[in-house]
């Protein structure tokens, strides 16, 4: 591995002759370090933690509704647990994956684009909540309003936002994972108001574990 000197003398740096092999090694090493530092998902462990939290959220909601006949929707204690899990996930994400660190000090086109997309995706999220309210107002059954819709549509909006941000950063792996999760979520709607929670949970978990496996494999290379 090429070790650059730490002197403050620039002339010495110019005289520090690089062989073509050293230059190639330095390019590869610097490029790898930069990609790691600029990337959002720096650690496959963060992806695995995300997979576990995803499964825990959907698993808790499924446990809270699986005995319901007729279907009424997730119970208060289940919602309390999932909101706690979301807070833990946000803290874990900041600590392990370092999203702030990845974009720290970066400005320009990508950041502007992310701000515009954030505004568009934020309005899409609010609109989907309004639509859910409209469904209830129009008399749709609890199986739709508190079952299939929140299990499928809410996460689709959030995962699509994640996919769009990944696309902006040309993070192709995360983009494909987002597309796969969206496909799983959409397909899970056919499982009905109770099965949808289990199907979304297990399907999303499998996709995220697969993404972590690809990230682990890339790290070893």
């Amino acid at each position: 591995m090429y070790e650059p000197h730490s002197t403050d003398d620039t002339a010495a740096d110019d005289e520090d002759k690089l062989s073509p092999e050293q230059a190639a090694q330095l390019i590869e090493q610097t490029s790898r370090d930069a990609k790691r530092q600029f990337g959002y998902w720096q650690s496959p462990w963060a992806t695995l933690a995300g997979a576990a939290i995803w499964l825990a959220i959907y698993g808790t909601l499924w446990l809270s509704v699986r005995e319901q006949h007729p279907y009424r929707g997730p119970t208060g204690w289940a919602l309390l647990i999932i909101y706690s899990l979301i807070i833990v996930a946000a803290i874990a994400f900041r600590a392990v994956a370092g999203p702030r660190r990845a974009t720290q000090g970066i400005s320009g086109r990508t950041r502007r684009l992310e701000t515009y997309l954030g505004a568009a995706m934020g309005s899409a999220y609010i609109a989907h909540l309004v639509f859910q309210g409209a469904l209830k107002y129009l008399g749709a059954s609890p199986a739709i309003v508190w079952g299939v819709y929140p299990a499928v549509v809410s996460p689709i909006v959030l995962v699509a936002a994640g996919g769009v941000f990944a696309a902006v950063r040309e993070d192709v792996q995360t983009l494909w994972a987002a597309i796969a999760v969206i496909a799983v979520l959409a397909g899970s709607a056919f499982a009905g108001p109770i099965g949808v929670w289990l199907s979304c949970g297990v399907g999303g978990f499998v996709v995220l574990v697969a993404l972590a496996a690809v990230q682990f494999r890339q790290r070893r290379q």
Binding site: D16, A24, S31, S107, G108
Partner: protein
């Protein structure tokens, strides 16, 4: 072809690392001076001197905004700098032969 054929502006360890780091940002993005300094573990004086050389060659642009404690300097690779790095890596591949083809490559995030 010999090592003399390599662009002397880029063919210095610190400047090569600066250019490669900036090349890993998406087109149109800039990096702040403190972040670049931290990533490369260079002293401010050393980084400034190398940036000046790269700027003179038209490979990077530095933009200073604000005043006093609010001042902020950002650095970006120009199209000319990106092209120079591509030429440099192509020349390296020529020197090292086809066996090293895969290892000398600089790309943007996600590539």
């Amino acid at each position: 072809m010999t090592a003399d054929a390599l662009d002397p502006v880029i063919h210095a360890p610190a400047r090569l690392r600066i250019v490669v780091t900036l090349a890993n940002l998406p087109d149109g993005d800039e990096l702040s001076f403190p972040r670049l300094q931290e990533m490369l573990a260079l002293t401010p004086g050393n980084l400034i001197t190398h940036l000046r050389k790269l700027e003179e060659a038209g490979y990077v642009t530095t933009v200073k905004t604000g005043h006093g404690i609010w001042s902020r300097t950002t650095i970006a690779l120009t199209n000319r700098g990106r092209a120079a790095l591509e030429e440099y890596t192509a020349a390296l591949r020529g020197l090292l032969g086809p066996a090293m083809d895969g290892s000398v490559r600089v790309g943007q995030p996600g590539e």
